[in-house]
Symmetry: C2
Subunit: 189 residues, 2 copies
Amino acid sequence: MRRRELIDAAIRTIGQRGSLDVTVAQIAHEAGVSPALAHHYFGGKEQLMLATMRHLLHELGRDLSAALRQASSPRQRISAIIAVNFSASQFAPQTVAAWLTFYVHAQQSAETRRLLRVYARRLHSNLTEALARITDKVQAGLIAEGAGALIDGLYIRHALGADAPEATSASALVEDYITVKLAASGAST
Amino acid sequence: MRRRELIDAAIRTIGQRGSLDVTVAQIAHEAGVSPALAHHYFGGKEQLMLATMRHLLHELGRDLSAALRQASSPRQRISAIIAVNFSASQFAPQTVAAWLTFYVHAQQSAETRRLLRVYARRLHSNLTEALARITDKVQAGLIAEGAGALIDGLYIRHALGADAPEATSASALVEDYITVKLAASGAST
DNA sequence: TAGGTTTGATTGACTGATCAATCAATAAAA
DNA sequence: TTTTATTGATTGATCAGTCAATCAAACCTA
């Protein structure tokens, strides 16, 4: 459908320019249609952006459940969650740039804020759930919070480019955090 | 001088609106002068923004060296660095919002990127220096990297509002990270 | 010190560019 | 024939940046 084509074009455009300061005209041109058509289908720029965000969120969710299906032990589930967040598709510069701009946009758009919270909560609950099988619930919550913040921080630094950690060392850093914290709080591996 | 008044007005305006989508006219109005004057003094919006950023960076640096002067042991220096980053002035919603927008702006402005790297490197080297007196250099570098990312992540989550950690629990989380990592890698207190 | 000159501060009005959004018109499909 | 897709042209708003004109302060000089 045309909606889908426009969303794909929006992601491509945001990625190419590394910015949310993207005009409807640019997106429409990238999709090979007229700007007016974008309005026809989405009603406005804001809704196009939200649809784009939902799409990225959906992809992340899909990757995540695929990875979780492969994991058997709780510890493997944790590693799977981390691996997905630093996988090539999620950690690609354009994707990271898009997320970053969504964070800023959230300052003004309640719906954007809500969607970002959905993502944050999902990450947190997935991590907590797996951690709670290895250590106690309070620790699980704290570790999940730390790991979540760590991931966000590594993303933002990645977006800044140079002397930022690569995907491999970034994910190793999060793995290490969890390993050390688990060891320090009586885990059962 | 007028330059200073305009910078202050810029910070106030960015803070109030929680966004870098701030017009020169808004800033000038906040400062009680005409928009043309802002151009007269700064030559353009970009330079006004950069001056504002330098000002915030300078404040952070000032707070930091004041805090470091109070600290005697390396461990205290580390705590001081963390405390400054989560102090009321630095962790205020408007300040955090401003930093966030600078990160986004860095995608398009080389000078903004450079300034942000200056900040990141300063934080990293301060932490590494203090850590290197407690543990070995390799570990010090890794811990500093983790702590830096953690701080950035907590900032971004704070900017998102609700269910984000408060300043106290955020700084406790970073402290805990460092304590645990030091314990796990043979530290001398 | 009075008069004249330069220099910087400050403004209002204006320009040009950029965009989101609208709409009437047309083409295609159902 | 009715509905849906699609567009070109246009509108209206928003801004950054410019400019010529005013105003004031500081600085000369005789």
